[in-house]
């Protein structure tokens, strides 16, 4: 990973509103994901966790506000669009992670070592030649993690990575995630298992369309906050009025280095105080 991302916040959210058809799924969110964060996104279904991750990955445009990214982002969606009937081997699927290094034309045969190592790291040694259609759900998820390893990005976004996966696989993958954290990578994961979040994720953002709390996990996942998150309406109000909140200027260059990020970020962050909403806790 690049050393530059250590000094700069990899993701800043400024007055961010994301949604579909003008209806916000994330409403006026401000905050910073710091380099090296291991952040859990928690909230009920429909809280906007996936939407926020899609926004961070650059998959959907912002309705208002902006997302400032200063590093390459690897993204594992919740519902992948992978065609598993395609005649592709596990080796080739994981090898896609080398795109940034190999591009469309550079040889992959010299990269066989790293790909095999990544597959071994997720417990899929010996599966190289297997067609992806023959893998079980857990094995397939492991293969996707191997691809993430090969992507070698400093920021990794995971959308419910453990849904439908058995405990042993989850434990193996959590070891991998902790390893990434130890290497100084930034990880944001949408999760539902609160015990898992408390055990493994130092920081949490509790969402229910509006941000409820963002900070150290123990201070965010209080019963009071969780009740508030549950009670926030999931309703899609067709007749919702136009939002009267402040407009935020959209960034012109999304994903590039934002020098402004530094100046703004300098004063409003304490030791682990990421954002204004923490005091709501």
């Amino acid at each position: 990973m690049s050393s530059g991302s250590q000094t700069q916040d990899p993701i800043r959210l400024v007055g961010l509103t994301l949604g579909y058809d003008r209806h916000p799924a994330i409403h006026h969110l401000d905050g910073t994901v710091r380099a090296g964060d291991l952040l859990a996104l928690v909230g009920p279904n429909g809280a906007g966790k996936s939407t926020l991750l899609k926004g961070m990955a650059g998959e959907i445009p912002c309705l208002d506000g902006r997302i400032e990214r200063s590093a390459a982002v690897a993204y594992m969606p919740q519902a992948d669009e992978i065609d598993r009937s395609f005649p592709l081997s596990v080796l080739d699927l994981a090898g896609m992670g080398l795109w940034r290094r190999a591009g469309a034309w550079r040889s992959l045969s010299r990269q066989r070592g790293p790909v095999e190592a990544a597959l071994a790291a997720v417990g899929l040694a010996g599966f190289e030649a297997r067609p992806i259609g023959t893998l079980s759900g857990g094995q397939f998820r492991r293969a996707l993690f191997a691809r993430l390893i090969l992507q070698d990005c400093s920021v990794i976004l995971l959308d419910e990575p453990f849904t439908g996966i058995d405990n042993r696989t989850v434990d193996d993958l959590l070891v991998l995630i902790r390893g990434w954290h130890a290497e100084g990578r930034t990880i944001v994961a949408a999760l539902h298992d609160l015990a898992q979040v408390r055990a493994h994720f130092p920081a949490t953002l509790l969402l229910a369309r509006e941000p409820i709390a963002w900070g150290p996990t123990a201070r965010v996942l209080t019963s009071e906050n969780l009740t508030r998150a549950r009670n926030l309406s999931e309703a899609w109000d067709e007749g919702a009025p136009v939002c009267a909140g402040p407009r935020v200027e959209a960034a012109h260059d999304h994903g590039a280095h934002e020098h402004g990020a530094h100046d703004h970020g300098a004063h409003d962050h304490g030791t682990h105080g990421h954002h204004p909403h923490e005091d709501a806790a």
């Binding site: 990955a57 650059g58 998959e59 982002v73 690897a74 993204y75 969606p77 992948d80 669009e81 992978i82 065609d83 395609f86 005649p87 592709l88 081997s89 080739d92 699927l93 896609m96 795109w99 940034r100 469309a104 034309w105 067609p131 992806i132 691809r147 992507q151």
Partner: protein, 291 residues
């Protein structure tokens, strides 16, 4: 029929027009099937059929302007095919109707328009030529065109192969790592169109898809991965070309349909005997393994 091998090659040895037909079909056999392999894997088989019909009004417009002139008809077909592919894609992105429905609408319009245009000036024979091609009357220019299309297709496929595979398997991943998804998809559509225009010369609008799809579908019963599917599909197309032309000569059959029927027969044979999911393989079921 004492010497089946001799009777297979004799027409090609004896007659120049048969050799030209064979050369044209073999050129088509190495370029169209790989495109067809990707089409079937992307579940776009019927889409290519739609696009082949879309070529007709363009070729017919060329015919109206310049008569039976190869460059005019080729250019017209290319323009019309690309226009329909792009329009259907654009309308799909702009509206909520799915791409297959839009393609169906566009190709019905094109087919009816094309037949109308040809009938305005041409005879019944011209219309037959448009619909079923004239593989036995390929001139030098048409052969150069088929060879050029073949070369261009193979080079282009080599260039876009990796992002194309990624776009087929996991378009979302390709979007997150690269912006090449859109251009690659367009390049692939362009390859479909130029191969259909090539097929149009030999086999006509209605059958141009035959050498593209039938070998590709048949290959799936023989090979497991792309590295196998592509060469097997080329081989099947070449076999269909040789046997179809030869049979059409022996039994005085129209050549275009004979070639496509030969490909169809190879497909049926593959479906029965192919080692990967063929029907006969299902009858003989060896006992399962231990792990």
């Amino acid at each position: 029929m004492i010497d089946p091998f001799g009777s297979l090659i004799a027409p090609f040895v004896e007659f120049g027009f048969m050799r030209r037909a064979l050369a044209g079909c073999l050129a088509l056999s190495v370029s169209a099937p790989p495109v067809g392999v990707f089409l079937t894997l992307r579940r776009m088989s019927l889409m290519s059929d739609a696009m082949s019909h879309a070529i007709l009004p363009g070729a017919a417009a060329g015919f109206l302007v310049a008569g039976l002139s190869l460059p005019a008809m080729t250019l017209g077909g290319l323009v019309a095919g690309l226009a329909v592919a792009l329009l259907a894609g654009a309308v799909t992105r702009a509206t909520t109707v799915r791409e297959d429905a839009n393609l169906a609408a566009f190709y019905l319009i094109s087919l009816a328009g094309g037949v109308l245009l040809v009938s305005l000036r041409g005879s019944q024979i011209d219309l037959m030529h448009f619909l079923f091609g004239s593989v036995l009357a390929l001139d030098d220019a048409a052969l150069w065109l088929l060879g050029g299309i073949s070369t261009l297709t193979l080079v282009a496929l080599a260039v876009i192969y990796r992002p194309l595979v990624m776009e087929c398997v996991d378009p979302l991943f390709l979007r997150t790592v690269s912006r090449s998804g859109g251009p690659v998809h367009l390049a692939f559509l362009a390859l479909v169109v130029i191969n259909l225009v090539g097929g149009f010369q030999a086999l006509g609008t209605l059958l141009a898809v035959g050498l593209m799809l039938l070998p590709a579908v048949a290959a799936r019963f023989w090979a497991r991965d792309l590295g196998g599917l592509i060469p097997v599909s080329m081989l099947i197309a070449a076999l269909a070309s040789v046997s179809g032309l030869s049979l059409s000569y022996q039994f005085d059959l129209p050549s275009g349909p004979a070639i496509v029927l030969a490909a169809g027969a190879l497909y049926l044979a593959s479906m029965l005997a192919g080692p990967r999911g063929g029907l006969l393989r299902r009858l003989v079921r060896p006992r399962h393994l231990e792990a």
